[in-house]
């Protein structure tokens, strides 16, 4: 115990004693020193006043806009850009090369010269990419990858070494100095309208169409879910539907993202037809040009003869998709479950897979996890097994079950899909896999 006439603590000692454990010496001193007590009281008051300062808060719409911008412009994380084992880099490169066949990098919008103006409709989802030339003779490509909504673009005249392309999952729209609008829904091209210049529209499986000023290209019949043949083609990798917890979606997005379309269903394709033409774009100016002769004729929605027969499980599968598109993920999960009930064929596997996605999207993460485990028990040889193993691995990692996560992520690392392998590898790196070469 210090003598009662010990000197007062310094201001620094008193300041440091605020808000934390106070030493016995200072506590004892404060009990008898009015001056130091006043200093401590003033420090406490200062803290209280500082904490009561009005908190500047961002406007909700501004925050929302910033969030969308942030997600659109965030470049590939550093961990994904270097330090991976060579085989994964090659696999990742091959996957992307199948899609865009060159070097792709993200840059801020202001660094790009040819695109002079881009206006997006409310809620439009798109991203901008720059594809640098791989060799001297190749052109640099500016890409706008559009998934949803409408973008109106004005592009400067391009030099022979520049290209500007808008892509969707199923099409490319290439320009050479023009003003035009592109509309997409669920990743698929819906409409192109040209105001100036020339635009070439290349839809997968269809001959290219050249649009002149005043002409439009419209899709009146939404494409059916892609089939086995498409899944097997190299094009299927071009703009892949991103599963809920696919490589790219990761831990946090199990409920945050759903694939755009089923990649395959079993026998009997369920073809949807649009009962009405697409709604006009919110950016469409009054007096927009009349449909050109190039627009495809509208399909007859009542033409039932063209539709293939529909079986109960397929009907349940299709209705599950309709519910998912309507945003009712819970109902979608129930319908997919009905479609999967008692089936071990491709349709049953797909339905079980989409049930997992729907459950994840509805927020029923625990149920989704159980379905993932069941999927892997029942459909071990399914083409989707790797994706499901990845989903489950990421989920277990998020829950802190490292051993379980490692087992499933190792399984996912052997999947046929390079994107699944890549993200499983990244996740294993993050988890510090002690035996990266170990097979599941």
């Amino acid at each position: 115990m210090k003598p009662s006439n010990s000197p007062c603590p310094t201001f620094e000692e008193l300041s440091r004693s605020m808000g934390g454990l106070r030493s016995r010496r200072i506590a004892a001193h404060l009990a008898r020193c009015e001056t130091c007590r006043r200093t401590c009281a003033a420090l406490a008051e200062l803290e209280e006043v500082a904490r009561s300062l009005p908190a500047p808060t961002p406007a909700p719409h501004a925050a929302r806009r910033m969030e969308e911008t942030l997600v659109a412009i965030a470049p590939a994380p550093r961990s994904a850009r270097g330090g991976r084992p060579l085989p994964r880099r090659i696999a990742a490169g091959a996957a992307i090369a199948a899609g865009i066949a060159a070097v792709v990098a993200l840059f801020p919008a202001e660094e790009r010269a040819p695109l002079r103006h881009l206006e997006a409709s409310e809620g439009a989802r798109f991203e901008r990419l720059t594809q640098h030339p791989a060799g001297d003779g190749e052109a640099a490509v500016e890409l706008v990858r559009l998934e949803q909504g409408t973008v109106a673009l004005q592009v400067e005249h391009l030099s022979p070494k520049e290209r500007f392309v808008v892509t969707t999952a199923d099409a490319e729209v290439e320009v050479r100095g023009t003003r035009f609008e592109v509309d997409a829904e669920d990743g698929l091209l819906r409409r192109v309208a040209v105001s100036e210049g020339r635009v070439e529209v290349r839809v997968r499986g269809e001959p290219p169409v050249l649009l002149l000023p005043g002409q439009r290209w419209l899709r009146l019949d939404p494409p059916a879910p892609s089939g086995v043949d498409q899944m097997a083609s190299a094009d299927a990798l071009e703009e892949p539907p991103v599963p809920a917890a696919s490589p790219a979606a990761g831990i946090g997005a199990m409920a945050a993202s759903i694939p755009d379309e089923p990649r395959a269903i079993a026998s009997g394709q369920v073809r949807r037809r649009s009962p009405t033409p697409p709604a006009p774009s919110p950016l469409e100016p009054p007096g927009a040009p009349a449909p050109s002769p190039l627009e495809p004729p509208a399909s007859d929605p009542d033409d039932a003869s063209a539709a293939p027969p529909v079986f109960p499980a397929e009907e349940a599968f299709a209705s599950g998709w309709a519910a998912l598109r309507d945003g009712d993920a819970g109902e979608a999960a129930r319908r997919f479950a009905a479609a999967a009930e008692g089936r071990h064929d491709a349709l049953g596997q797909d339905a079980a897979y989409w049930e997992i996605v729907a459950l994840g999207r509805s927020g029923a993460a625990a149920d989704a996890e159980r379905r993932m485990a069941r999927f892997l028990e029942r459909h071990r040889s399914s083409p989707r097994a790797g994706e499901v193993a990845l989903m489950l691995g990421l989920r277990l990692a998020a829950r802190g079950d490292r051993a379980g996560a490692l087992a499933h992520l190792r399984a996912a690392r052997t999947d046929a899909d390079p994107r699944v392998r890549e993200t499983a590898g990244q996740a294993l790196d993050r988890l510090g896999d002690p035996d990266p070469d170990r097979l599941p």
Binding site: S15, I73, P75, V103, A248
Partner: protein
């Protein structure tokens, strides 16, 4: 050859049970949904801190904070809370922004002009208004390194050792800055003008 295909944000929030650390881990493997979720959870605190550091529209710094966090997510080792880590990034970005601006008059004026919290009694209200105005102006007038330390430790409640780590200074330096800031602000309680 460098390439990356990225998913689009769907807008839904990831399951609520995901921790901040899980979201950062997901960001580390390129999950933009996790980035959005992280932004939604923390942009309020980051915006508040940046606005107090800079004094006016902090949007650019807030956005760059999350972009840096996104890029560095794979290197996050959990040595501090995610919130403290983000605040540390924000402090660095704000410091850089202040250096670029070259003067801080706008910060002082902006903080002075903000509406003030009121106490219930009219007389107390007036006194309180003046006190808060003085402290707000005093904080805005602090040198940036003292201001960021005071904001982090006092207003954001980041523990000293954690604040030292995220600001990349020695604990002794942090304490000295905090004491200096308090020393400069204390006279404002007695009616001194900053």
């Amino acid at each position: 050859m460098r390439s990356k295909v990225v998913p689009f944000l769907r807008g839904e929030t990831p399951p609520p049970e995901l921790t901040d650390e899980a979201l950062v881990a997901a960001c580390g493997v390129g999950d933009r949904g996790a980035l959005a979720a992280l932004f939604r959870r923390h942009h309020g605190a980051i915006h508040r801190f940046c606005a107090r550091m800079l004094g006016d529209d902090p949007d650019d710094v807030v956005q760059s904070t999350f972009l840096v966090a996104w890029e560095d997510a794979a290197r996050f080792r959990g040595q501090s809370s995610v919130r403290a880590w983000l605040l540390g990034i924000a402090a660095n970005r704000a410091r850089r922004e202040l250096r670029n601006r070259g003067n801080e008059r706008r910060a002082v004026e902006s903080i002075r002009a903000r509406p003030l919290a009121l106490a219930p009694d009219p007389r107390e209200q007036a006194e309180r208004r003046q006190l808060v105005a003085r402290v707000a102006a005093g904080i805005a007038a602090l040198p940036p390194e003292l201001r960021e330390t005071f904001l982090l430790c006092t207003i954001e409640g980041i523990p000293g050792p954690e604040a030292a780590r995220i600001l990349d200074v020695r604990p002794g330096t942090l304490w000295r800055r905090l004491h200096d800031a308090r020393k400069r602000l204390l006279p404002l309680l007695d009616g001194d003008e900053p």
